[in-house]
């Protein structure tokens, strides 16, 4: 393997929790046991997520495109090829699952985020966490068109609101999914030279592009 390919293949920096997604993520071990083939829908959800997380609606960000970022994310992190990640994206895309999450997600929650004793920062039981999520979802989704039940089909501002619902969810696995996706997409975009000129970062002092 040449140096460039090696560096790219092993560049998981900040792609926190990628290994967690790969080994099941929101769906726990289930995603591994019953791999769903990566679908056009989950790819669509990923591109929609890229657009929600990055500011392509801002003209200053025109040096980058959603296609370039998702192609690079696939090259770096193998998103599209990975069945477990696709399964997670499918759960994220399906709006109705926010109020009533699949059983696999709640068992993943129980394993990873038991309520630590003496911690008052989140509801102790998973049922209470789901109920709290369902409540915040209700407020938001009242604005949405029930005929279009997926994240990918929401208008941009509503997509962003939905992503932040995950960021502030009472379920730890949802916050983790958000953190993982955000890190992965940010790391992909802001490691591109094109992004550096946008934000006014001059880049390395060593004036060579690594081979």
């Amino acid at each position: 393997m040449d140096r460039r390919a090696f560096l790219e293949a092993s560049s998981l920096a900040a792609a926190t929790s990628l290994h967690w997604l790969r080994s099941g993520g929101l769906l726990g071990q289930l995603a591994q046991a019953a791999p769903t083939e990566p679908t056009a829908a989950s790819n669509g959800a990923f591109i929609a997520l890229v657009k929600a997380i990055l500011p392509f609606d801002d003209p200053r960000f025109a040096a980058l495109s959603p296609a370039a970022v998702s192609t690079r994310a696939n090259a770096l992190f193998g998103i599209a090829q990975d069945a477990a990640i696709s399964g997670n994206l499918a759960v994220f895309d399906e709006l109705a699952l926010f109020a009533s999450p699949p059983g696999a997600l709640t068992s993943a929650e129980l394993v990873l985020y038991p309520a630590p004793t003496g911690d008052r920062s989140q509801p102790a039981t998973v049922e209470a966490r789901i109920a709290a999520d369902a409540k915040s979802y209700q407020v938001l989704s009242a604005r949405w068109n029930p005929a279009q039940p997926t994240f990918s089909s929401l208008p941009l501002q509503e997509q962003r609101a939905y992503v932040m619902l995950w960021a502030r969810s009472d379920l730890g696995v949802r916050r983790r999914f958000y953190r993982a996706m955000k890190s992965l997409i940010m790391a992909t975009a802001y490691s591109m030279d094109e992004a550096w000129s946008v934000i006014g970062y001059a880049g390395p002092l060593l004036h060579f592009r690594s081979p």
Partner: protein, 525 residues
């Protein structure tokens, strides 16, 4: 299977391992092997790009606590953490070592230069520290080396009557590129890669990199359990690394003394993996992380932030009352983008002002909790890091965050940002528009993954002490359960060492190295 016979095998070529290898080769003529899981990368490899240089980090920078909340960073290369760290130097804190002597029976670790610890002439912490400081050129940077980001931080503190100090740094003729975190491309940072590991190699220490030690072997001799050797896997040499000294494949090493210096996450994991008897289940338990919360400020005009020495000023004003430090630091774009709150145009509103951003971090000296620790997961073959902030620690973080926001405003920021996605009262996100709002920090919940905290100072997982019921190794670093097995790295601290750990770790390694060289007969040599 390659077989290697040695007198001393050192596992891990980081802060402790490299220092031990250099010290033991300086004072003995024993055959020493130094085994490092990562590659041997030198200045030509360091290209100042965050994603590329993640190969220098454990799990490519992707290692976190099991709940995904806190990235637990450490170096994985020759030099270990010292290759990628910010060169911030703190002498070992005598108050903390005094506490360990009192509470854990740790002894003698004298800080008087005249002391002869363990009956070894000239052995004491003061002289070990002096050696390390000299080899690493630990010094205070001059006025003209301080960039705007550090200056602003100092000014903000001053305005509020918070005392600041200048860091000491292990650098020589630093050009201020600001890329310490990606490895110094100019060999100006005196990491152990360019100092002690270099010395060790010159004295014929046998370095094997790309070498992951899998387990330590024991034998029963009478009533005594004795460490006799280890097995390891040598991976093919990655592009960009120096050549290796052995072919890839399985490796078996026999040694008279085995020293584990794999860092506070990997050392307990290796001992658990090797089934070292641990009747009280202490190994791995009581981990501290120094969780750190970045604080960013938006200024009116551009300032030097990512160029110049990253960390030059800190404040320990609240160390004795609240147990935390403010330390000036700044992130490159990838790390900044991952940490800054929210998404979309609101996130970009901050990124687009990158040259006008200022940053410093608050570093909590966290308390030991028995629920926190490292657990080797046999099935998945990974070291799980289990960590929950205690309520009192959260309370201290809230106070520190609030004061930090005030300092950033006092420094002249027009907006102050915490790396949290929480909605704080009237604030849609943790973006503060005026100083009065700083009080809203009291509401921070620190739920995992919602507020971004980061750790690069894991410690205290294989604690030293004289009571086997409360510690895993004695003051010499020797296992309570097994002869000829030592642990020497950040794991053996009974609690946090109370500051950034590098110099404390290296001083300990220099000290133990000199001791072992004078106590060879203890190990049958």
């Amino acid at each position: 299977m390659i077989n290697v016979d040695a007198d001393i095998a050192i596992i891990g070529a980081g802060a402790a391992g490299a220092t031990l290898a250099a010290t033991l080769s300086e004072f003995t003529n024993k055959r020493i092997v130094l085994l490092e899981r990562g590659g041997y990368y030198t200045h030509e490899f360091f290209d100042q790009r965050e994603l590329d240089m993640s190969v220098l980090y454990a799990q490519r920078g992707g290692r976190t606590t099991v709940d995904g909340a806190i990235p637990v960073q450490s170096g994985e290369c020759v030099g270990g953490g010292t290759t990628v760290n910010f060169a911030l130097c703190f002498d070992p804190r005598q108050d903390v070592w005094g506490g360990w002597k009192r509470d854990m029976g740790v002894a003698p670790f004298s800080f008087e230069r005249s002391a002869n610890d363990f009956g070894v002439s000239g052995l004491n912490m003061a002289s070990a520290l002096a050696d390390v400081r000299r080899r690493l050129n630990v010094h205070t940077p001059s006025d003209d080396e301080i960039n705007d980001n550090n200056r602003n931080f100092a000014a903000g503190c001053k305005a509020l009557g918070v005392q600041t100090k200048r860091f000491e740094l292990n650098m020589i003729d630093c050009i201020g590129c600001g890329y310490c975190g990606q490895g110094c491309a100019y060999d100006r940072k005196l990491s152990t890669m360019v100092t002690y590991a270099h010395d060790a190699l010159r004295r014929n220490v046998h370095l094997i990199h790309h070498c992951e030690v899998q387990s330590i072997q024991f034998a029963q001799r009478g009533t005594q359990r004795v460490a006799t050797g280890l097995t390891a896997i040598v991976r093919p040499t990655a592009p960009g690394s120096e050549k290796n000294s052995v072919e890839p494949g399985e490796l078996a090493i026999g040694a008279k003394l085995i020293i584990v210096s794999a860092g506070a996450i990997a050392s307990p994991a290796l001992l658990q993996r090797s089934h070292l008897p641990d009747p009280n289940q202490l190994i791995g338990r009581g981990l501290v992380l120094h969780p750190s919360l970045p604080i960013a400020g938006v200024f009116d005009k551009e300032l030097s932030n990512y160029r110049g020495i990253t960390g030059a000023i800190y404040s320990d004003q609240y160390y004795s009352s609240h147990g935390f430090y403010y330390e000036c630091l700044f992130d490159h774009p990838v790390a900044a983008a991952c940490a800054l709150p929210v998404i979309g145009s609101e996130h970009f509103a901050l990124m687009a002002q990158y040259p006008k951003l200022a940053g410093f971090g608050l570093m909590l000296v966290d308390s030991v909790g028995s629920r926190n620790g490292v657990l080797w997961d046999e099935g998945r073959q990974t070291a799980d890091i289990i960590y929950h902030l205690s309520e009192p620690d959260k309370e201290r973080l809230r106070f520190a965050a609030r004061r930090g926001v005030e300092i950033m405003f006092a420094a002249g920021a027009k907006e102050v940002v915490l790396t949290s996605d929480e909605q704080l009262g009237s604030l849609g996100s943790a973006r503060f528009k005026n100083r009065q709002d700083a009080a809203l920090c009291d509401r921070l919940q620190f739920r995992p993954c919602e507020t971004f905290l980061v750790s690069s100072h894991a410690q205290a997982t294989v604690k030293m002490g004289e009571d086997p019921k409360r510690s895993s190794v004695n003051s010499r670093g020797e296992s309570h359960a097994c002869k000829n097995l030592m642990v020497c790295d950040a794991s053996v601290f009974p609690t946090s060492c109370g500051a950034n750990p590098m110099i404390s770790v290296m001083t300990l390694a220099r000290y133990q190295g000199k001791r072992v060289a004078n106590e060879m007969s203890r190990y049958g040599m």
